[in-house]
Amino acid sequence: MEYTIFTILPIFLLPFLAFVLGSFIVKRSEKLAMAISTVSIFVSFLFSAKIFSDFIFSQFSKDYYIHKYFNWFDLSSQGLEFSVDLGIYIDNMAAVMLLMVTGVATLIHVFSIWYMADDKKYGKFFVYLSLFTSAMIGLVLSDNLLSLFIFWEIMGFCSYSLIGFYHEKEKAGEASLKAFMTTRVGDVIFLLGIVAIWGVIGTVNYVDIYSAIANGVFEGKMVLGISLATFAGFCIFAGTVGKSAQFPLQVWLPDAMMGPTPCSALIHAATMVAAGVYLSLRMYPLMELGGITPFIACVGGLTAFGAATIALVQTDLKAVLAYSTISQLGYMVLGVGVGAYNAAFMHLITHAIFKACLFLSAGSVIHSLHDHQTHDHVQEMPRMGGLKTKLPLTFLAMMACTLAISGVPLFSGFVSKDRILGDALYMAMTNKVYWVAYLLGALGAGLTAFYMFRMMFLTFFGAPRDEDVYKHCHKESLKWNRNVPLLLLSIFTLGIFFSGSPSGQGIVKFGGEKYEWFKVLMVKPIPKNFTTYSKEKLSTQDNRDKILWPKSSYESHDYGLNEEDEHRLHTAHIISAIASVVIASIGILIAFLMYIRQSFSSERIISRAAKFYKILVNKYYMDHFYIKIVIRRGLLKFNRLLANFDLGIYDRYAIDGWEHISRYCYRIADFFDRYAVDKIGVDGFGFVIKDVLNKGLRFLLAGKVQFYFIVLFLVLAFYMFRISTA
């Protein structure tokens, strides 16, 4: 199979064309826009599946990648070389990512057909969804940081528009503004990182960056007193922090739930927020070189734990899921920090699947519940309960995902999360800094199990707490566009799809390397493999021999470690797996005792730890700090001060003040004119002369600023040139 632009570009172009076409026809026919959008993403999925199967199953699995580029613009002239190339780069990671993005997007499109059917603007929704999907695909296909950034920001725009989709709500406006601006903080720093690399090594191509690292180009380069690799690594990680909602920029994601639920599932759970992690993985060699991995691990651990604690006290169904997303993204970042490259990426994929499913299920629940007073959907868990019998299929899907996210063995979340924690434990054994990350991560896992089951119990079990809402909820029957996406996604929450070892740690193992495809095929990029390397221009024809370059070589040992370390790693994994299972069971058990058996009530705990509860409900006062203190008291006050200074003081006195000065000059001249010249000098000469001179002078000195300028400068010029020519 050869790859030409005809087999790769449609993946990106189909949703993009659907967006273009859709935005023109959406006014005529919303239905048509919807259909185009859905069909295009499905066809795009088929193309991705082809690439995926070629990469993962077929002959060239390990060492094949596609890299083509075209020239975007070229500024070379007069011997100064500068051109910007954009291109496509597909390796194993991109191939898996493509399949995930298009697959999840297709299912979410299908689900949206049901979910958005009653909405007046559903055509517009699909148009945005198409733009978003094409941008996400573009991001995955990108071979360089610049085009990645372009698509990154377009996704940010889509996210902004979809959060503000219900623009008649004041809150939607606030949430969308907050989301865009918070991520923008990270993005601007990210752009600086890109510019730093670009300016110093002359390219932002991933592969060029790897080879620059291997060739030692980064060595000795300093930016603002710190090494370039650290600066750039930090800046790029800031992009991840913004987009993947890590501490301290996590505040936007919970508010982002103002958007329609399918968009939360696609953008704010499965794909866009994960793009931040994808970026960190792509730039992993740079982070390593810059020595910021311990920092990354700690940020990840802190986020994973902190968000989980906030999720404990949320009552809104979507809010719980939002915090759990932040927390899970924290695990991925933690994975990047501890060097668990393939585990972090695996968690990205497994999380995308189970979290998309969770959100869709939540959407299915919310859409079924109505409040007949306000005509709104019900999102509050205290008003749910006992929905298991009314919504059996949704319950099934949601339960599978909850098991996965809680880290129950045999499910996908367990495999990926515990690999991350295992590696974190191993790193902690070698470097004490990582203990923080591991412990936070492990504790967070227990909290995750607790709050997820709390959510399940509150929603589906027990007696209905709001009879009215419960009565009006229709019994669910199997619908292709409502339940099929849910059930399909929930099937893939099984660990068996990702690993031959359902327990994740190799305690129980099926088959050999073949079943560990994820571990075998997603390997850290090793910069030295990229030292000799040449690019291929994008064309309609391809010569496969030319583009076969060694990508990376899989070592039979996981990390190329010696036997002793290998043993320690293995031990760490087993310890952490057992610890995780124990912690998760405790979490589930407590949730069970609290909400099903009601052995002890949550109210009593809340009243006991009222202070702590208040802190959690207020999200550690971070929103308060940012909005009230940083923005209102700091930034806006400063801005008002500056604006008042600008027009009120500077312009009024320093600029318009000249008018007063010229008035005074005029008065002095007038006085001189009237008394000195007029009375004494002129009166002596008689009436006629007096009148002429007086009027003439008055005309000259009538306070006309421009006239003074003319005189001033003509005189000045005259003197200057007399001197200069002399």
């Binding site: 007069q78 623009h167 510019v195 300016g199 421009q706 001197i723």
Partner: protein, 506 residues
């Protein structure tokens, strides 16, 4: 006399004279005449683009005109065009055409209004084409006249003040420039080429010194500053910027568009055409300072914009901020930075023109521009629900203005950042804050005006009509097209910019 530059330059004048002969009651006829003139002119600028040779840097011989004008003083009518003035020419042609369309609703002395607009167009072209310093100065001054009246007669409630302020400020700057022009005339020996900008360029003046008030001054450094202030007022660069908020707020829509879209670029164009090539050593010597002023512009403009409650003034301050990026790019003296600066001049022209036109459209309906009224209530609110077409175009303009990748503003800002990063790392990091605040004030404004319940005051507004959509479309297309394919524009300018960079590099 078949020469495109002549035609472009004089066609608006012909139109203006034609309009003078139309009876003033025939308002529609006047409008169509003005429209036809600007349309033809725009067509000619396109023709110019099609005949332009991208591969050649510097002034293109095939378009040059040299005719003696006042031979006693060696003043010539010299026109020419290169890759830096061509994008500005295209922008001017387009914006004037659109402005005529947007001024269809002007009812007060229609004849004078359109005649003055056409006169302004000719003067603007004159500035971009002139290669004779004296001619340049003449056009630079001629441009003030229609501007003065357009603001002073058709402006808002405080128009006289704004017009006089605009006039005095710019006049002050041009006098400094005049001194420089005369100085160069003498220094060049009053000869045949003493007013020839091209002949004066190249850095001949670095060894010269001049004694003034008893001390020795380096000739090029002293006169670089005179030129600098003259152009800086136009850009406007930080301490000389306060005319802009007044002029923008008071000016009628079309004039705001021209002011922000084209006239501000004349300042930076002055640097590229005159200050830099004539005094390259001094430009390099003072580059740090210029970069600092650019940075101050970026941040100061952005911070001030954030506090505004008047939409037009907000956009006026955002112009100050965006022109700061151009100044920073100019001080980079690298191909990336310089090309980025010229590209930013064009892109800012399109995006800010969109913003001003949109605000004008809104103003025609609301007759006020308050985001938040002085009493604290919202001036608008819920526009997104009530005026969908307007909202869509506003989103495009706003995101182009804040530099969303995929729209035109981004690539020029990225190039500027890239150009200055190595030389002024700390400045770049601080300028990044400008990008952040730049998004903040626009989106915050958008939130306050477009989201929420429909304000009862705006219930009566009609959505954009066909004419309004028609004149917004070319700009929408331009910001999207040049965001995705900047190459056509960059190809025009790169050879000429490259030449300038090599000159400065020496």
């Amino acid at each position: 006399m078949y020469n495109l530059l002549n035609w472009i330059l004089w066609l608006p004048v012909i139109g203006m004279i034609g309009i003078c002969f139309i009876q003033k009651e025939k308002k529609d006829m006047i409008r169509y005449a003005a429209l036809l003139t600007t349309f033809l002119t725009f067509g000619l600028t396109i023709l110019l683009y099609l005949n332009f040779d991208n591969s050649v840097g510097g002034i293109q011989k095939s378009f040059s005109v040299t005719v003696p004008w006042i031979p006693q003083f060696n003043i010539y009518y010299r026109l020419g065009i290169d890759g830096i003035s061509l994008p500005m020419t295209l922008l001017t042609g387009l914006l004037f055409f659109l402005c005529i369309l947007s001024s269809w609703t002007v009812e007060k002395s229609v004849k004078a209004f359109f005649a003055l607009l056409l006169m302004l167009e000719s003067a603007v072209f004159g500035v971009f084409f002139a290669l004779d310093f004296f001619l340049f100065y003449v056009y630079w001054e001629v441009m003030l006249l229609p501007m003065f009246f357009l603001i002073g007669v058709w402006g808002g409630e405080n128009k006289e003040y704004a017009a006089v302020k605009f006039f005095l400020y710019t006049f002050f700057g041009s006098l400094l420039m005049l001194v420089g022009i005369i100085a160069l005339y003498y220094a060049a020996g009053k000869g045949d080429n003493a007013f020839n900008i091209l002949a004066l360029s190249g850095g001949r003046w670095s060894d010269l010194s001049i004694s003034l008030f008893g001390t020795e001054w380096a000739f090029d450094k002293l006169f670089f500053w005179l030129m600098f202030i003259g152009f800086a007022i136009k850009v406007p660069v930080f301490p000389f910027h306060t005319w802009l908020p007044h002029a923008h707020v008071q000016a009628p829509t079309a004039v705001s568009v021209i002011l922000a879209g084209v006239l501000l670029k004349m300042g930076t164009y002055g640097f590229l055409r005159i200050a830099y090539p004539i005094f390259p050593q001094a430009s390099v010597y003072y580059a740090d300072f210029v970069a600092l002023l650019g940075l101050i512009n970026v941040l100061y403009g952005a911070f001030c914009a954030m506090a505004q409650t008047d939409v037009k003034r907000l956009i006026a301050y955002s112009s100050i901020s965006h022109m700061g990026f151009v100044m920073m790019g100019l001080s980079a003296m690298t191909p990336q930075g310089m090309n980025g600066a010229v590209l930013q001049m064009f892109n800012h022209g399109t995006s800010t023109a969109m913003m001003f036109l949109l605000v004008g459209i809104l103003y025609e309906r609301s007759h006020h521009r308050w985001i938040i009224r002085p009493d604290g209530s919202k001036g608008f609110g819920g526009i997104a629900s009530h005026l969908p077409k307007f909202t869509l175009i506003f989103i495009i303009g706003m995101f182009a203005s804040l530099g969303l990748p995929g729209l035109s503003g981004f690539i020029s800002e990225a190039l500027i950042f890239l150009g200055i990063f190595e030389k002024y790392t700390a400045f770049t990091v601080m300028a990044a804050l400008g990008l952040l605040i730049g998004a903040a004030y626009l989106l915050w404004m958008y939130k306050r005006m477009f989201f929420g319940e429909v304000n009862p005051d705006i219930k009566g507004y009609k959505d954009m009509n066909k004419r309004e959509i028609f004149y917004m479309l070319p700009l929408c297309v331009a910001v999207i097209f040049f965001g995705i394919f900047p190459a056509p524009l960059l190809n025009i300018m790169k050879a000429s910019v490259g030449q300038l960079v090599t000159l400065l590099d020496r």
